[in-house]
């Protein structure tokens, strides 16, 4: 057993304070356990959001010693003995109370993305047929638990308040998962470039650094999308090829194989 000082944000969106708590740490504890202990023993109205305690629901996102993290997956033994732990709510979103922030802006971004539109001729009496190697790339993005840590760390939203111009990394990879879908026939590139603001991302890769699901958002999602934008709007070679041969026709996977 080991004594620790926790400094936890108490307050609302305008102002608050870092309040200090002395806590006893047992082996195997994670930061969320400590917050719960403070809540049970010292501060009954401390607000914290959580759900699964297994790193799968994405509810317990907060900032621990300045780093956006899942509190339920952050073990106490990551920190030096005696180190003070500072816990604050997500910086990029409005604080509702204490450690709980209002992430509803993200839900509205999701709604702006055109849903999947499957090629009608791809439908067979066995349903839709796809091959593993065609969906490998997309499956990486499907691991997302919507914790919004990437949205929180992205400096475009966090430091420059460009919520009206940039949709954020989580939704960039949602667009990527639809654009790379072998059966999808929708085109989202014009809005990706304009309304969703793919050009705002300067690929500094912080979204990739914080993702608890280890999704390589920048290299596998955002940059490939930027390259598709280059194809469509900037590369004279591919633009000329399209002018001469017309747009590439969407081919569908073989049904019997």
């Amino acid at each position: 057993m080991d004594k620790r000082t926790f400094r936890v944000y108490r307050g609302d969106n305008e102002r608050g304070e870092l309040k200090s708590y002395e806590v006893e740490i047992n082996e195997g504890m994670v930061v969320l356990d400590v917050i719960h202990q403070i809540q049970a023993e010292q501060e009954n109205d401390l607000a914290v959001r959580w759900n699964c305690k297994a790193g799968k629901c994405g509810s317990c996102s907060m900032e621990i010693n300045g780093k956006p993290k899942l509190a339920c997956m952050t073990r106490m033994n990551e920190y030096e003995p005696g180190q003070t732990i500072v816990v604050t709510p997500l910086k990029a979103f409005p604080v509702l109370k204490d450690l709980v922030s209002d992430v509803s802006w993200n839900y509205r971004q999701n709604e702006r993305i055109k849903p999947v539109k499957l090629a009608p001729e791809a439908k067979t009496d066995r349903g839709y047929v796809m091959y593993q190697k065609d969906v490998d790339r997309i499956q990486e993005f499907r691991k997302c638990i919507e914790c919004y840590l990437c949205q929180d760390v992205c400096h475009i939203l966090r430091d420059h308040d460009k919520q009206d111009a940039f949709i954020g990394p989580r939704f960039m990879i949602r667009v990527a998962s639809l654009e790379m879908h072998p059966l999808d026939i929708e085109d989202r590139l014009p809005e990706l470039k304009e309304e969703f603001g793919s050009g705002y991302c300067n690929i500094t890769r912080c979204c990739t650094d914080v993702c608890p699901e280890h999704i390589n958002l920048t290299d596998n999602g955002i940059i490939p999308l930027k390259e598709r934008v280059v194809d469509r709007f900037y590369d004279p070679v591919t633009i000329l090829r399209r002018k001469i041969f017309g747009p590439r026709k969407k081919k569908l996977p073989p049904i019997n194989k």
């Binding site: 307050g11 102002r15 065609d134 400096h155 966090r158 790379m180 070679v237």
Partner: protein, 284 residues
């Protein structure tokens, strides 16, 4: 239970953070690494001399400093200059401005320079280290004073989209460097090996490792497809995409190895050509 002074949660400003680790190490190393490279590169290009070494033996072969390759024109009568037969277009042009040194390097630096400048890896590196947007993750970014604030790569920096175009040209440098490596294993038409040849051979190898991990190439060989099993070429495309992706995951590594290697090779040949150091080799 003591209360600390009130804090505003949404404070802004360069470097503001609650992080307690040494987040400044990465940007500091990048700042140092890239600045040193730029200083050396421009200095070397400005010298306009001592970029060639063949120990005074005429005939096929010799060391050409990588910052000076390919040689479009050659100014004769300069110390450590290559023989005229190595020039692609011949003698030094008349129109070259007086105030600029007659350096073949200045003619060819732009392509690899812009290629690296617009590379998706280097962009991360210098946006963090030089422009502080952001200096490190969850560390306050430099605030923009302009009315419309931060514009990323939608404003002036939209030029980053020429990366694809520079890539088309940059791949030719790998071929040029392989030729230089071939050349470096001969002196006066005789085959041999020197420390210089090994250094020069490293260039195209590491440059290829870097270039073929490029995101633009990754896109062109397969990333642009939504489906690999849908067409005849899909399989080949998938295999090459996997290969490029392997290099792509090591893009940062190759970016630095190739950068450091080219400086070492260039400096080495300059020093050998000046007679400051002696090249160990099989010819002498």
């Amino acid at each position: 239970m003591q209360s600390d002074t009130s804090i505003a949660i949404h404070t802004r400003g360069l470097g503001t953070t609650l992080r307690q680790d040494k987040w400044w190490i990465y940007p500091a190393l990048i700042l140092f690494g890239l600045t040193s490279f730029l200083v050396y590169g421009f200095w070397s290009a400005w010298q306009a001399d001592y970029y060639w070494y063949d120990a005074g033996v005429s005939g096929f072969g010799g060391y050409l400093a990588p910052f000076y390759s390919p040689l479009l024109f050659i100014k004769e009568g300069v110390a450590g200059a290559a023989p005229m037969s190595h020039s692609i277009f011949g003698a030094w042009p008349e129109w070259w401005p007086q105030w600029l040194p007659p350096s073949p390097s200045l003619l060819i630096l732009a392509v690899p320079g812009i290629f690296r400048f617009t590379c998706y890896y280097y962009r991360k590196a210098y946006y963090r280290a030089f422009t502080g947007t952001p200096p490190a993750c969850a560390v306050g970014a430099l605030q923009r004073k302009r009315k419309d604030g931060y514009r990323g790569e939608t404003g002036l920096m939209v030029v980053q989209n020429i990366h694809r175009i520079t890539m088309y040209f940059a791949v030719t440098y790998i071929i040029v460097f392989f030729y230089d490596a071939y050349l470096s294993f001969f002196r006066g038409g005789e085959f041999g090996v020197g420390l210089g040849s090994i250094l020069i051979l490293g260039n195209p190898i590491f440059l290829a490792g870097y270039t073929f991990g490029c995101h633009s190439i990754r896109h062109l060989v397969g990333g642009s497809r939504d489906c690999y099993s849908c067409s005849m070429v899909g399989n080949a495309s998938h295999e090459s995409w996997k290969l490029v992706s392997w290099l792509n995951r090591r893009h940062e590594l190759f970016a630095w190895i190739s950068l450091i290697w080219i400086v070492v090779a260039d400096l080495y040949i300059r020093l050998v050509s000046m007679g400051v150091i002696i090249d160990p080799n099989t010819w002498s």
